[in-house]
């Protein structure tokens, strides 16, 4: 799992690359929380363009970050999921809370 970020104006883009399952969740959670702790961004976008695989662990991880960011009035979005990941996200109902853009 490789994570990188891009920032422009009020947007932070979190680019996830590789496979997101339980084996990488705990480290990724800490990395993201550290990075987002004092953010001044208005929008955080999870860019899944290079994410090859994700199971329901990813739903828990994204929802966890959403709860923290939402408390600070920061909007969260998801973009570019592949078919497999889109199917997992759709079944979870997460798009009702975190829109796909």
């Amino acid at each position: 799992m490789i994570v990188s970020t891009t920032k422009n104006n009020n947007n932070i883009c979190i680019n996830l690359e590789g496979e997101l399952d339980q084996s990488v969740a705990s480290k990724l959670r800490t990395q993201l929380d550290d990075y987002l702790l004092n953010t001044q961004a208005k929008n955080v976008i999870f860019n899944l363009d290079k994410l090859k695989f994700m199971d329901s662990t990813g739903i828990g991880l994204i929802m966890g970050r959403y709860k923290k960011l939402n408390a600070k009035k920061i909007a969260v979005f998801i973009t570019n999921p592949n078919k497999q990941i889109d199917k997992v996200l759709t079944i979870s109902g997460i798009y009702k809370i975190i829109p796909k853009i």
Partner: protein
């Protein structure tokens, strides 16, 4: 072609990717669509994660993966010898999780059910859980 396989792995997180890759590789000889392969991969990942996160919370153990293909039907069993599930019916419900303070989505069984053609869960408290799933490889 009818076929069978069996794999015993240690119930550790780093084996999740190995487990789902092995089962999907086992199926490719039957030429399933990419979507079918991904459905199987996802369901295996959920079942193995359940065994690791919930089954073996108190002690270490192994996970047994048994799969057969007969008449183009994949039957896969994910077996653990962990703590077991007290109430399988409740556990199968959407968004149900015992990890209230963790960040589990409670969607593991929901995903297994919707990605596979059938799901059966047998559990004995203190003895372990067997998840049996089937999927037609070519629809």
């Amino acid at each position: 072609m009818d076929n069978s396989m069996c794999l015993r792995i240690k119930a550790i997180e780093s084996n999740e990717s190995f487990a789902r890759s092995v089962v999907s590789a086992f199926c490719v000889g039957n030429n399933p669509s990419l979507e079918t392969v991904n459905d199987i991969k996802t369901a295996i990942s959920e079942a193995v994660t359940n065994s690791i996160v919930h089954g073996y919370t108190k002690y270490e153990g192994d996970i047994l993966l048994e799969a057969t293909i007969k008449d183009d039907l994949l039957t896969v069993r994910v077996i653990d010898y962990g703590i077991g599930i007290l109430d399988v019916d409740t556990a199968l419900g959407d968004y149900y999780t015992t990890e209230k303070n963790g960040e589990r989505s409670g969607l593991g069984f929901t995903i297994m059910q919707s990605f596979m053609d059938s799901l059966e869960v047998e559990s004995v408290m203190g003895a372990g859980t067997t998840v049996t799933m089937t999927k037609k490889l070519n629809v």
